[in-house]
């Protein structure tokens, strides 16, 4: 297992009026391939900001970010979106599904960016739905599914193009206890059986328990790592 994610001296500033706010300060981080990492910390500490940088949704103000061999901080927006399509799956708190498409089509959507044929796209989407346990709900639109089911569809969508990395921002934040447990179970399975590297932001210590490692953030810095097996804070 090699290193999948490496952040070196990463800073992210936001300009608010005349003020410059440092949201991430000199973050150094290394995540090994095939690990499940939880990221915790108080609200506003910069968890989402760091996750977005790792997922290639945003660029750092300074520092280096290398994921799966690509220097995300030095490629242009087009290359970054092509990279996202190939290499990362996203799971958000509010699912972010397209309400006009049924589950099957939502899952198929990322495959439009690949060279797969129509029937391969359909097959892969069906397979991803099967993995999350929703093979029978392909025809349902998001509005016709429960929150937990919608999150499963979102996970299937994140999986379908077989990325090495899954980034999840409070994936259970909008779900009740037992539904949250099911989703966490699913993420664990993806990690264990499909070997996905998962970085998950959560406020819930019980959710963090499912991960192999937990990183803590405070005021824009990584403060410690518990059971720092595969993950190191330099």
């Amino acid at each position: 297992m090699g290193e999948l994610i490496r952040c070196t001296d990463v800073c992210k500033d936001y300009v608010r009026g005349a003020e410059r706010v440092g949201v991430l300060r000199n973050v150094d981080l290394s995540v090994q391939d095939g690990t499940f990492t939880a990221l915790m910390g108080p609200s506003g500490s910069g968890k989402t900001t760091l996750l977005n940088l790792i997922g290639g949704l945003d660029s750092p103000t300074s520092g280096e970010i290398e994921v799966d061999g690509l220097r995300l901080d030095s490629v242009n927006a087009r290359a970054l979106s092509a990279w996202r399509a190939r290499s990362v799956g996203f799971v958000f708190q509010f699912y972010n599904l397209l309400p006009v498409l049924n589950a099957q089509r939502n899952v198929e959507l990322p495959l439009l960016l690949t060279g797969l044929s129509r029937s391969e796209r359909r097959k892969n989407a069906g397979l991803a739905l099967e993995i999350v346990g929703l093979a029978d709900r392909g025809k349902h639109k998001p509005g016709e599914l429960s929150g937990g089911q919608q999150q499963r569809v979102a996970i299937a969508r994140a999986l379908v193009s077989d990325p090495c990395l899954l980034v999840c921002d409070e994936p259970t934040g909008d779900l009740d206890r037992s539904t949250a447990d099911e989703i966490l179970e699913l993420l664990q399975t993806l990690h264990r059986e499909l070997g996905k590297t998962i970085v998950m932001v959560t406020h819930d210590p019980r959710a963090a328990d499912r991960a192999q490692h937990t990183l803590h953030m405070d005021k824009g810095r990584l403060v410690s790592n518990i059971e720092g097996l595969g993950t190191e804070v330099a």
Binding site: L57, D58, F94, L98, V100, L101, R105, L112
Partner: protein, 382 residues
């Protein structure tokens, strides 16, 4: 699935909103097609036929009559080869909605002037010999299924007959060719004798053929000069000019329809543009999600623009199709009055061009906003 299915799914997201927009676009483009056809009819297809023809009318108004005696006086001029008189009769067949143009004419000279309106020798002979006869344009006879020999009652409300009857009976002598749609011709002499009071010994307008087409202007000056100081001065024009004047007296149809269309499309632009802008705001999270999945900025913008274009082009196509379906009916009802009612392929092309422009204008704001949308900001706005 293809990206185009996402486009359709998005259009059907709010079926009521989309249908209302679609219907208003269809109506606007229907209006566009009809008004274009009407203003085309008024500006008259310029034809070589009738280049040597002049129309002699009252100087004051196209609706004023001229004395019957002018016919012989103009016919006597060297510059004029032939002249015929035409009047307005109006009226309808049985029911008011069966209205068409009926002209009392001089059967001896009418078809000598209007040579493009072909009539068989037999029919013309019968028309000339029977005073109560009439000839119908082929379109008119076909519309009501009239056969030669039928008695045709024409009700009208301008000229009562002696004895007070408002219904005039004519016997159909036959048909003639007429490109302008529905037209019925009756004997001026019969009409003039039967009519009481206003309109007696008067004609609506005269149409003459000049001896030398190159001397049309000289002929016009001679004729108008002759009646300059009479109680009924004339105004002569070439026939094309006459059609245009007729149109301008009706209020410049072209300009009016242009203004109507501008108002209609401006309103549509504002309303639909506003709807599209609102629709965009609702979709920010979805568009951000697409970008997250790796769809490039340009593709997301193109999707939004394509939706606006599809809606506008769809509405335009529906409007054009409805116009085409209505054409035969409108031609039958309006054709006689305004010359000819024809939808042109050119207008349809212009409508599609206009729809494209409208789609681009309406889609521009959402498309540019979609392009600029940054994922991180959009995700934070939830």
């Amino acid at each position: 699935m293809k990206l185009s299915s996402l486009l359709w799914a998005n259009l059907l997201r709010k079926p009521t909103r989309t249908s209302l927009t679609f219907v208003s676009l269809a109506i606007a483009f229907l209006l566009f097609m009809l008004l274009r056809a009407i203003s085309d009819a008024f500006s008259g297809g310029v034809s070589m036929e009738g280049m040597d023809r002049i129309v002699i009318d009252s100087r004051y108004s196209l609706t004023d009559n001229l004395p019957l005696s002018y016919v012989e006086r103009i016919r006597a001029l060297d510059e004029v080869d032939q002249v015929t008189n035409v009047s307005w009769f109006g009226g309808y067949y049985r029911e008011p909605r069966n209205a068409f143009a009926t002209y009392p004419v001089d059967p001896e000279s009418y078809f000598d002037i209007f040579r493009e309106q072909g009539i068989s020798a037999d029919t013309l002979a019968r028309f000339r010999s029977v005073r109560v006869s009439a000839v119908a344009s082929e379109a008119l006879a076909a519309h009501y299924g009239w056969q030669p020999g039928d008695t045709i009652p024409i009700v009208q409300d301008i000229f009562p007959q002696e004895g007070g009857s408002w219904t005039w009976q004519f016997e159909l002598a036959g048909t003639f060719q007429y490109a302008g749609g529905e037209l019925l011709l009756i004997h001026y002499d019969y009409f003039n004798e039967a009519v009481v009071g206003w309109g007696k010994d008067q004609v609506g307008w005269l149409v003459g053929r000049v001896a030398d087409p190159k001397e049309v202007d000289a002929a016009i000056r001679t004729i108008d000069g002759m009646f300059e100081n009479s109680p009924d001065p004339t105004r002569s024009t070439t026939e094309d000019e006459y059609r245009r004047q007729f149109a301008s007296q009706l209020g410049d149809i072209g300009a009016i329809s242009g203004m109507i269309l501008m108002a209609v499309f401006f309103t549509i632009l504002l309303l639909t543009g506003n709807t599209a802008a609102q629709g965009f705001a609702e979709r920010v999270p979805e568009l951000a999600a697409m970008k997250t999945l790796g769809f490039p900025d340009g593709s997301v913008a193109a999707l939004v623009l394509a939706e606006a274009l599809a809606l506008c082009l769809g509405g335009a196509t529906a409007g054009i199709a409805i116009a085409w379906l209505l054409e035969p009916g409108l031609e039958a009802n309006l054709g006689g009055m305004i010359g000819s009612f024809d939808l042109s392929g050119w207008s349809a092309l212009q409508a599609l061009g206009l729809a494209t422009l409208l789609g681009l204008l309406i889609g521009a704001y959402p498309a540019v906003s979609a392009r600029r949308l940054t994922i991180v900001d959009a995700l934070r706005e939830r």
